[in-house]
């Protein structure tokens, strides 16, 4: 197992390198650039633009720019944002906990709701409960996140005035747990409602599959109660694909749900990226993509390892 993990990690290095090269190439191929921010400023001269381009190293050949970015990046210097001039690492670390806070809650809520529903719909397949719940989760699964978010804002924020429209906390007040929770409700609901359907479907499908397996028949034949059969035997096996999917979703915890953060004004990673992308803030974009890609690679590895751990039939050499 250890050798397997090590080999996978080793393989990740050229993968990441490739990703940074491709990202950088795309960035550089995009017409326009960071200097666009200065248009409209009547006091800026072409000379100013050239001076700034030079100061930011934008007048160098592309491959030199990439190599200097890469060498700096490898030594822990992720560069400075073109627009705020702050260190990229500082910017990312400032947003990181806030995204984890939102997405972590989403993750926990989603799983807490989805697991019991998934089990129940499978155990009571084709009951009215199954139909209603499967139908509902299916409907949410088919709803664009941004539309759901907007509808929730209209109903609960604007019409009923029950919940705040956005942000992490009421500004100008001291820390207040209830206030924090109130701010979490709408964004978490938006993302969870869409996410729950997904997990329910996975769990239901794999539960149904395991419930008909021979060893469960044996267990039942031995006179074990259905409840115990489900809890002890079926669930364990049925959770394998669920764990895999959950692990694959982990990067989202960090990368954030861009659209949702955008709609609810959540100061997380997604908004950082959106702002950087629209400003052609190359160092921030590169830092972000490198982090995101690393996380995805690690999550894939974690999923495979979990899978092997939970399913004794799988062995990695």
């Amino acid at each position: 197992m250890t050798t397997y993990v090590l080999r996978r990690l080793l393989q990740a290095v050229p993968l990441l390198l490739g990703i940074t090269v491709v990202s950088f190439a795309i960035l550089k191929a995009i017409p326009g650039g960071p200097m666009a921010a200065y248009e409209g400023n009547p006091n800026i001269t072409d000379e100013d633009i050239r001076r700034l381009e030079h100061a930011l190293g934008l007048d160098q050949p592309v491959h030199i720019q990439y190599l200097s970015w890469l060498t700096a990046f490898l030594t822990g210097d992720w560069g400075y944002s073109y627009s705020s001039h702050r260190a990229v690492l500082t910017e990312i670390m400032e947003r990181f906990p806030k995204t984890v806070y939102l997405m972590g809650t989403v993750y926990v809520v989603t799983l807490l709701v989805a697991i019991p529903i998934g089990i129940l719909t499978a155990v009571r397949q084709y009951s009215w409960f199954d139909h209603i719940v499967t139908g509902t989760t299916f409907a949410f699964l088919s709803t664009p996140t941004f539309w759901l978010g907007l509808l929730l804002i209209i109903v609960f924020g604007l019409q009923l005035r029950l919940l705040p429209l956005g942000g992490m906390a009421t500004l100008g007040t001291d820390f207040d747990l209830l206030d924090r929770v109130r701010h979490l409700i709408l964004p978490v609901a938006t993302l969870s409602l869409v996410g729950i359907g997904r997990y329910v479907r996975f769990l239901r499908a794999s539960m149904l599959e395991t419930l008909t397996q021979d060893y469960l028949r044996t267990a039942r034949a031995k006179g074990l109660g259905e409840r115990i059969v489900v809890a002890r035997h079926a669930l364990k096996n049925a959770s394998i694909p669920l764990v895999t999917v959950a692990a694959l979703d982990l990067p989202e915890l960090f990368v954030g749900a861009l659209v949702t953060e955008q709609i609810f004004g959540w100061p997380g990673m997604g908004r950082l990226y959106w702002d950087a992308a629209t400003r052609s803030d190359y160092p921030v974009i590169m830092g972000f993509l490198a982090v995101a890609a690393s996380l995805i690679i690690l999550a894939n590895l974690a999923a495979d390892v979990f899978y092997a751990y939970l399913d004794p039939r799988i062995r990695y050499a």
Binding site: Q11, L15, I26, F138, L248, V255, L258, I296, N300
Partner: protein, 306 residues
């Protein structure tokens, strides 16, 4: 994001069992099983209706989708404008029909690109194996390691807002990887099976073996993945358009209609509700169809009541 990826993951999930369909009878049985899935049949009906209405929009609607009328701004729904008018006095229902052309074709075409590319690459990797397989699968790994929406945003900026053709190609280029893995897996599991060996022993060429014997056997999971992929692509297109990076006005798409609507929600809530509703209808129908197809094509999923 969650929704964007869901279809891919569903596709991976259905990919695991690569059931062989060797006889016509099995397709027939699958078709019968599909008909039993009432929601899937309903999905087909709704989707067909949406597609027909969009395709024949000029016959259905007396209005021009791009004709502005500043005297008719934000008319609420009425008999002459069943879904009201938008911020430029255009008939919303008409725009939704025409928008359906864009949104539905983006979904179908993007996935067609993805499936073609995925089948090709997966097939090559699976059939030839060795270093070709290794290289192609590393490419797949790399593509899968990009955060998709984030890359799409970059492309959106790159292409200065996208046209139908560009968005189809970009979405296709970013969506083929699951299919390729799926096809490769089928190839790996089938290429040493008896019937392939038999074909080879009587001197069939590689091309024929792939076309006649292996590909038909991977069709089932591909069909399911493709169907669900279309739903995902429609949502992705609407998300991109919502961010202002998708199809550009005046061409209506359900996504860009919603983008406009966000600032008008209070004055004209119908402009926000109807386009979203149609995205939802299309996606939910397609998802049901995909579900039905999976149950039909992969009998393992049809389980008896306990």
């Amino acid at each position: 994001m969650a929704t964007l990826r869901s279809s891919q993951l569903l596709a991976q999930a259905v990919a695991l069992p690569a059931t062989a369909y060797r006889e016509r009878g099995q397709w027939r049985m699958a078709f019968e099983r599909f008909l039993e899935h009432r929601l899937a049949v309903a999905g087909i009906v709704v989707l067909a209706l949406l597609a027909l209405l969009s395709a024949f929009a000029p016959l259905v609607s007396p209005y021009n989708p791009e004709k502005t009328n500043l005297l008719l701004i934000f008319e609420s729904p009425s008999p002459s404008h069943p879904m009201g008018t938008d911020s430029l006095g255009r008939d919303l229902a008409t725009r939704i029909l025409y928008g359906g052309r864009v949104s539905l074709s983006v979904g179908v075409l993007a996935i067609a690109v993805a499936i073609t590319l995925g089948t090709l690459i997966g097939g090559i990797a699976g059939f030839y194996g060795r270093w070709i397989d290794a290289v192609l699968m590393r490419v797949v790994d790399m593509m899968l390691s990009f955060p998709r929406l984030f890359l799409l945003i970059l492309f959106g900026v790159f292409f200065k807002g996208m046209t139908l053709g560009v968005i189809v190609i970009v979405l296709g280029l970013l969506s083929w990887m699951p299919t390729s893995r799926l096809v490769r897996a089928t190839f790996l599991s089938l290429k040493n099976r008896d019937f392939v060996e038999a074909a080879r022993s009587i001197g069939a060429r590689n091309r024929d073996i792939i076309a006649r014997h292996i590909l038909p056997n991977s069709l089932a999971p591909i069909i399911v993945a493709a169907t669900l992929g279309v739903a995902g692509a429609i949502i992705t297109e609407s998300t991109l358009s919502f961010l202002g990076l998708g199809i550009q006005p005046p061409t209506p798409s359900w996504g860009n209609m919603l983008k406009d609507a966000t600032s008008e929600m209070n004055q004209a809530p119908w402009t926000a509700i109807f386009p979203g509703l149609f995205i939802f209808l299309a996606v939910v129908s397609i998802n049901f169809i995909g579900d039905g197809l999976r149950d039909a094509l992969d009998p393992r999923h049809v389980t008896k009541r306990i």
